[in-house]
Subunit: 189 residues, 2 copies
DNA sequence: GTCTTTTCTTGAACTCGATTAAGTTTTGGC
DNA sequence: GCCAAAACTTAATCGAGTTCAAGAAAAGAC
């Protein structure tokens, strides 16, 4: 849980008392591989800080196949903000790709925490700015580069990550079929 | 400027004094067609609330052509948060598509405003959540639907908007060529 | 009003990546 | 260690959308 405190401290100043309040109001939770933090049609009840592990956020598209829109890794928050804040059913699944540990911030506790520590409201504003910018960047990659280029870019940026998750998930995240990914890899070797 | 106050009030409670502070610290500005609020390589200095008009946020891609990643319309904020917050050169242009009016929140004033009115920090957190969710939704559309489907979806959602902006901008936003858009339209009629 | 610039259209050739339908390899449960 | 399930590969065919090039129409400028 110290990783969470360290992360928040990179963005805003916390007193010792603040840190204790945060630790007392958030839950540590272990998540097994393939376990879900959120399922489609359920209302999202918490924001999760990933202490360790990998999560994927996906939905079932028109054709009935899984489409990954986001990977959550160490030191990122993962949730469906739209469902969480507006208390509406989510369109997404959030599932552990490998065994993981998270810090859980329940939505009812969140308000209490913001009231006690206003700096946290700022922290989340900054986190969201970062997430939003990353999402814009993602759209850029989709538009600017071919599937092959996106794959090389991704594998250069996260080489170790590529080893940890199944290829069909990478293909889904990058927006093409597993068959096409096979073809790209065959070309290279 | 009352539209801005009305908008903020939809998300958080403001006292009369708060409203006065906001109005006193923000600038009203008229923007002519084709004028820029931000250019690539410049550091973004403000967040703009669109009172009236349409803006496009775009960049120059690898091949040297303009790629629109976002349209800003009435009652939305538009800026490059990454550049604004981290004080780094922007990758984007923000340009008025038609004559417009904006409320300007300078980055130096922003901190002052947050200090005086903590509710605003919350307001921007909520705005960003919404923008982030919209961006995710955008990625979904790109992955799930064909160019033709995206066009019909867009034209059903914003029929009047379609009349106001050149078609090549719509094509760029939807992620295909103007030629292809022409073909889609030819089919329909 | 005419002239220039901007925007839109049309058609032919081409390409990236999807689809389908095998077969192969790897992983995990017991 | 064995078997089933999950993950990956290969190859042929097909289609959505690009590219290039040229011309038509619309919108500003003076």
């Amino acid at each position: 849980m110290q990783r969470l405190i360290a992360h928040i401290s990179k963005f805003v100043d916390l007193t010792e008392e603040d840190k204790e309040i945060i630790l007392s109001l958030m839950q540590y939770q272990e998540v097994k591989k393939k376990e879900y933090l959120l399922r489609q049609d359920a209302v999202c009840n918490a924001n999760y800080f990933i202490l360790k592990g990998v999560f994927r956020k996906y939905y079932i598209d028109e054709k009935g196949s899984e489409q990954i829109i986001h990977f959550g890794i160490d030191n990122w928050w993962i949730t469906d903000y739209d469902s969480l804040e507006r208390r509406i059913p989510s369109q997404y699944f959030i599932q552990a790709v490998e065994g993981a540990e998270v810090a859980v911030l329940d939505w009812r506790v969140q308000e209490e925490l913001f009231a006690k520590i206003p700096a946290l409201e700022r922290y989340f504003r900054l986190i969201l700015q970062r997430a939003y910018a990353a999402s814009m960047q993602r759209i850029r990659y989709i538009y600017d580069f071919s599937g092959e280029e996106r794959y090389y870019h991704f594998s250069n940026l996260y080489p170790e990550f590529l080893q940890r998750i199944p290829q069909y998930m990478v293909a889904s995240y990058l927006g093409f079929t597993p068959e096409f990914l096979s073809k790209i890899r065959a070309k290279k070797i």
